[in-house]
Symmetry: C2
Subunit: 721 residues, 2 copies
Amino acid sequence: MTDRTTGPPPVHPAWLPDAAFAPVGSRRVLVAPGPDAGPVGETVVAELRRATAAHGGTLTVVDAAGPRLDDATVRAHDLVLVVAPRAGGPGQRRYPDAHPTAYLVAAATAGRYDGETGGQFAPDMVRRVRVGGTTVVAAGGAVGLLYGLHGVVRLGERAFQADDGDHLERPLTPVRMLDHWDNIDVHPVMGQVERGYAGGSIFYADGRVRDDLSRVADYARLLGSIGVNAVAINNVNVHATEARLLTDGLADVARVADVFRPHGVRTYLSVSFGSPMRLGGLATNDPLDPDVQAWWAATADRVWATIPDFGGFVVKADSEGQPGPFAYGRDHADGANLLARAVAPHGGTVFWRAFVYNHEQDWRDRRTDRARAAYDHFAPLDGRFDDNVVLQVKYGPLDFQVREAVSPVIAAMPRTRVAVELQVTQEYTGHQKHVCYLGPLWSDVLGFPLAEDATRTVADIASGLPGPRTPEGAQLRAGGITAVSNVGDDEFWTGHPLAQANLYAYGRLAWDPSADPVALLDEWLDLTFPGADPRVRETLHAFMDDSWLTYEKYTAPLGVCFMVDPLRGHYGPNVDGYEYSKWGTYHFADRDGIGVDRTVATGTGFTGQYPAPWDAVYEDLATCPDELLLFFHHVPYQHVLKSGTTVIQHIYDTRADAVDVVESWVPRWEALRGLVDDRLHARVAERLAEQVRSATEWRDQVRTYFFRKSGVPDASGRPIY
Amino acid sequence: MTDRTTGPPPVHPAWLPDAAFAPVGSRRVLVAPGPDAGPVGETVVAELRRATAAHGGTLTVVDAAGPRLDDATVRAHDLVLVVAPRAGGPGQRRYPDAHPTAYLVAAATAGRYDGETGGQFAPDMVRRVRVGGTTVVAAGGAVGLLYGLHGVVRLGERAFQADDGDHLERPLTPVRMLDHWDNIDVHPVMGQVERGYAGGSIFYADGRVRDDLSRVADYARLLGSIGVNAVAINNVNVHATEARLLTDGLADVARVADVFRPHGVRTYLSVSFGSPMRLGGLATNDPLDPDVQAWWAATADRVWATIPDFGGFVVKADSEGQPGPFAYGRDHADGANLLARAVAPHGGTVFWRAFVYNHEQDWRDRRTDRARAAYDHFAPLDGRFDDNVVLQVKYGPLDFQVREAVSPVIAAMPRTRVAVELQVTQEYTGHQKHVCYLGPLWSDVLGFPLAEDATRTVADIASGLPGPRTPEGAQLRAGGITAVSNVGDDEFWTGHPLAQANLYAYGRLAWDPSADPVALLDEWLDLTFPGADPRVRETLHAFMDDSWLTYEKYTAPLGVCFMVDPLRGHYGPNVDGYEYSKWGTYHFADRDGIGVDRTVATGTGFTGQYPAPWDAVYEDLATCPDELLLFFHHVPYQHVLKSGTTVIQHIYDTRADAVDVVESWVPRWEALRGLVDDRLHARVAERLAEQVRSATEWRDQVRTYFFRKSGVPDASGRPIY
């Protein structure tokens, strides 16, 4: 990618610079993608060809017509990548007996794995072993081969060192998606990418799908390398122009799908529930209307006729002004099943968002609680959704806040496939102007033991595994993990170059939620800055490891959420910015205290939506964790935290301490000048300066706001205004 | 105007419906505009021709070749309008002795008036007398004749009733201007008209000056009828496209000037101080650079060659991002004189705005006070401005607030011509969604005895009369009165039909600041709703007379200013909306009190910028008027006002009382259905509903904000949230 130019400046290669391929590319490599490997197999071969050409290695490509892989052949190579035949079984294909990979099948797919996976070595599974002096990667299919290749790239030289065991890798969940909130038309205020902080869309320009999709191809390559396998290419708020991607624009969508396909990524569209009226000229969008049903069926037929491996639809309905089934007296099961039945014959899936709440709330009304809304709307519908509906639930009950309780909806619907929605784009976490590495947040969320008496994690639920059966005994299918992407046509993809790490970590955590997010930073650093001075790694770890917690410390305290500026699209402080608004996000600070009473005993009752033990943990001030205190309770400023300090002194101290941390980064980054790419250094330096400015503003506004309101002096004596 | 259609719906005729001309049009009218009356004389004749044709009267037009106006001729008419010859004197023209108006000269211009005006009956002066059964209007020129005609129209039947004396009318000041903040290009957020609440621009469409200027012609007629005689046709924030009106666009500007000219209105342009670089390709805009001076001189030459009666320039420099002389180490006298010297040979005037302040202020810094800025910048420059520079000063030191102290700059520069700038467009007073009749505000401002020990009013200063000499004994020339217009291409001109009254009152008060603003409402009502049921007048008086005070009561209290929502362009409540911003507009509310300490003793020292006695009056809490209390002082919530109530209870009570008033308007307006035009009724009803909604929001947010902060209960027991 470094040698491709889209006019100056060149696009940054992110975590796939040519140098990252040196350990592979300098070796004797054999690849046997199998006779049915298709475009993904071609990608693997092309990657290897490019790497070996660049770094002095050799490449042998074995196809069905090639030489048999005897022991000598294997030992004559340092790295052998091979697609293993699928295990037998009714309806399962076998490769012809003549296939040359028999040796490797034995080496790579023998043993316990077949048993664990129900007799099938799935296409995206990959096993890596050392066989003598050779590293052997065997995959269940071409996409697994691609993942196996990138696994070796990530390991680098370590992949060729002494035998460290026998590794099987497989993704937690079969759907690991990115949603793009990209618009075709540029909105005068929102810009082209809603909540986008990295320039324009890589998909669209000049009012249509780009002719030159080379940036999409580069992006697809990045996604394939981290296991992301699904992309919805347009904003969930589907405007007029974008709605027509579903019909008039299908040929263009097919071009995009063609670009994603070689990297194992399926294409999805966000569609408007109002499409039958808007696009079809129908008199209604009523999900029970036969004409509406017929319109969706015919539309789906055309989609899959054009793109046979199309993924499905993402739908935001009855939310923030988008049309939905409520207008017709129908519920969201009616709405979701309407689309599900249209796509079912094609194997399509409907991702139906649970982000439904009253966005015209009266701030005077303390009985209504937006946090309750998704549960109240959806929990009663459990069991009513078709099997190809996935309910897509934001990780928190509000909206991608820097700190929220995990949404109880995720645990509330045992008969429903649930996908957890994360946000890679930093809408509430600094607009990719602030360093805010979100791996730890997502790791906490995915690993949170929400269900089954705190034994089943959010990731377990999203994967449908290892989970329990439904109440009726059926095995739940996986929902998936999805997230809003953070890339644009920016030179560094993500505005802030360090925000690339968020995209990287998202893909890796969606693959394996148990991964250590700090260890993922090591992977990302090794790939992105290959061969860099050790100070680069040390400095970036110092910045990034706890940067989410640092961001939290200078923004809204103790889980109270928001306090962001509505005028600047949720950037920068505005303590009362949403306090008297229609959005249902309030802190209720007065001269005596702050926080939202969401208890059953005296508040909105939201804690009652949690399964045990969390309902009790959150209900009780004594057990509610400090970091969520103000999310669940309204307390006096003098309330003493478990940390031993008062709420007000915590507010004062943490905001000031966090800014000291951010300020310390500036000279440390300056010291790296010359040790990283100059343009990257300059971009990060510019963003750090802005982060210092903005964090200082946060510190001073929040501290001053609460001093003016509480009248309590800061025991540390630091300035308040 | 009612019979012209610009496609449905027809444009509302404002205060010039055909019916308003019935008293004139039904009579025997003679007009003698004189041989040099030009296009304004033609307008007068055309108005009379149209009125008499519509209402059954007769019209005799006498020109130099017409019959002599003997006594019998005069007595044979009910209304005689005549241009009187100018009094003699060196350089003064006389009409030929043969001119037929000798009789009327004697009747109309004899006596004390010549003496008062230095021996000259100025072109815009007009005298009205009853001569036997005939109403005689004699003017010093064609424009006076136009004003005289509209004076008779305003009087209606009363103009033809028993002799009520001998009336001389003349405008306070020779310049009565409207500034249009219209852009050619439509800004995606600001719209086409900055701070415009009445649709698009009447001047521009599709990226250029309109081909069809008929709306401008209608507007010019409205302005001519109330004595407005100058219009700047583009935004003081001069963007790229609009900057070129000064050069490439001159032919189009000339077309606009041609449309204004027949109504006695001269055309001005807002120009960018950065024009030499932006338009001329020069390397600098430095006012002392000879090339810059030559560029401006040549540019002015071209302007006046194209439009010989062009008025001059309006300039916003070094303000809110506009370029200015500071960049070159020059001051604003250098900057203004640069342009003044270019336009002086042509008789042009430069209106140089004093709205200069630091718009990147740090909210933490309580020593800097935006209110001080204009005085600090400009007062030291007094005496340095050329004679054709007018310093254009906003009426208050901040920015067109609903309640501000009068700007001390107005009194601070006795050697400088000063124009007072008002704002007809309701930027901070409800966006023409709220009824807010601003006549009383302007009347208060213009009549405020700011200077010379409270003997000389703001209007006196703006008019240069009757005022004292400069310290050197020279007679100051008038500066003028100017305001930001409120019209757009809306069917009712002003969005809210009742906002037409603001435009009307502005023109009438600019002509005569001593006019009673409530009486001006009577004039406006009589003209706009001729022959309407008495309930219309009664109801609209009930709404409008105190509507400014009502608006004040539900918005920011006691002169503290702002508290408007930055997100909605200064519409609706947001108590802390500007509190932590860069704009220098703060209320400093904490749990104990509120207000800005601008005293010399303990505050920013702003009170020291006032002449006696106001410096002392505002400095002392005991004498500072309640309505400006928080503009000048920071006081505890329990501070007792002169009204006897506490600050906090005043905040609580007035907000609730004011909403009660606004709510009472809805049924009263509903009762007028059928008594006024249906479309007008519907528009007002829609706006009243929004005013109730918005005022309720103001009430509840402000009351709740201060309850949460102060903890003081509302003694009235009304709801707080």
